[in-house]
Amino acid sequence: MALHLNLNHEIERDKLAKARDPLKLGMMAIGGVAAMFAVYYIWQQTVMHSISTDYEQAKVGYEKVEKAAEAAEKSTAELTQAVMLSEAFVKRIEGRFYWASLLDQVTKLAQPDIQITRLSGEVQPDASRRCTINIEGVSAGADPRKTAEGLRKSLEDEFSKQFKTASVTFRSLEDGTASVLVGGVSQPTALYQITVQLGMGEDAAPKVAPRRAKGT
């Protein structure tokens, strides 16, 4: 058997020791970990950049809409005020009481044997919009009181159709002292005063149903 002598064993041992140096291996491991950390950090920076871009875009968008929203808010307030003003105008105009129309109706209902000497009225400015009208005059005929009652009834019938509530009552009805000529015939007269109350407003009192006579 041949004797083999390794004269370089010291050199090889040193080489091996150098290759297995814990510090060197540790540095390599730390370098690996640091590289992984760096890659993850760079990726997170990219994510951060993306998030920041989104935020910047949202911020710019919000600044834009914020100005528009402020203008819109102001405009909405003005428009709302305009709508309310317009509604108030329209309500006022549509809720007016037309006196010419009333005069026309009363004139048409007054028969030739009825004379109206005075007509006056007032509309309440509050929400009830109640209108009170006083009609004074002279009625003539074989039964002048009946003639005046005819006028009252026809006024009531006419206004009941037109207004929410209508009440037509005599304030006074007295025999007149003078006689008048109607169709060439002298007839007695009666002096009447009629009060008309008309309800036009939303909160006008409801119509009172006529009472039923007992036993009917």
């Binding site: 540790g26 809409v65 003003l85 105008f89 006022r92 009481f97 006196w99």
Partner: protein, 183 residues
Amino acid sequence: MKLGKDQIQKMVLSALLLAFLVYAYFAVLLGPLMTQQEAVKKKTLELTPKIEAADKLIKQSAANKIRSVGAQDVIKQLNATIPEGAPVAWFPPRVAEFYKARNVDKVTTRLVGMTPDKNLLGYVQSGWSLEFPKVEFVPFGKALAEFENAELLVEITNFAIEINRDDVESQHVTMTLNSIVRK
């Protein structure tokens, strides 16, 4: 394999360096970055409802604008019927001219007072007293109807018509009316 003292020292040193690296990475680099990310995400999320609310407001305003076109037209038309200046300077001549054009010559118009109207901001109600000493019923009735239809801002609140004592063929008329005028 037995580790020498020198090797153990090197291993401990490597472990210490690694620990320091991990600590420094999380404490100095990644930690603040993640905190910053969370903060920015939160801010972005906070902006979203604000943008939605602003968008909603803008849409509402646009819808209101369309709806209010009619209302603004009404106000414009009514404003056009109210002349500039003190009402006492233009209202009585306007009434006189209106009735004169319809053969009702004599009318006296007096200012009774001005009252604010809480429903009509920027406007006031001017109260007027009108007196027609001598009118013929039918022409006057027609003129009154036209007046009520033409003067949309006028409302007659009191009205009285009676036979003239000295001339039973004519009537005496008094009325009180409110007219809307600018403040």
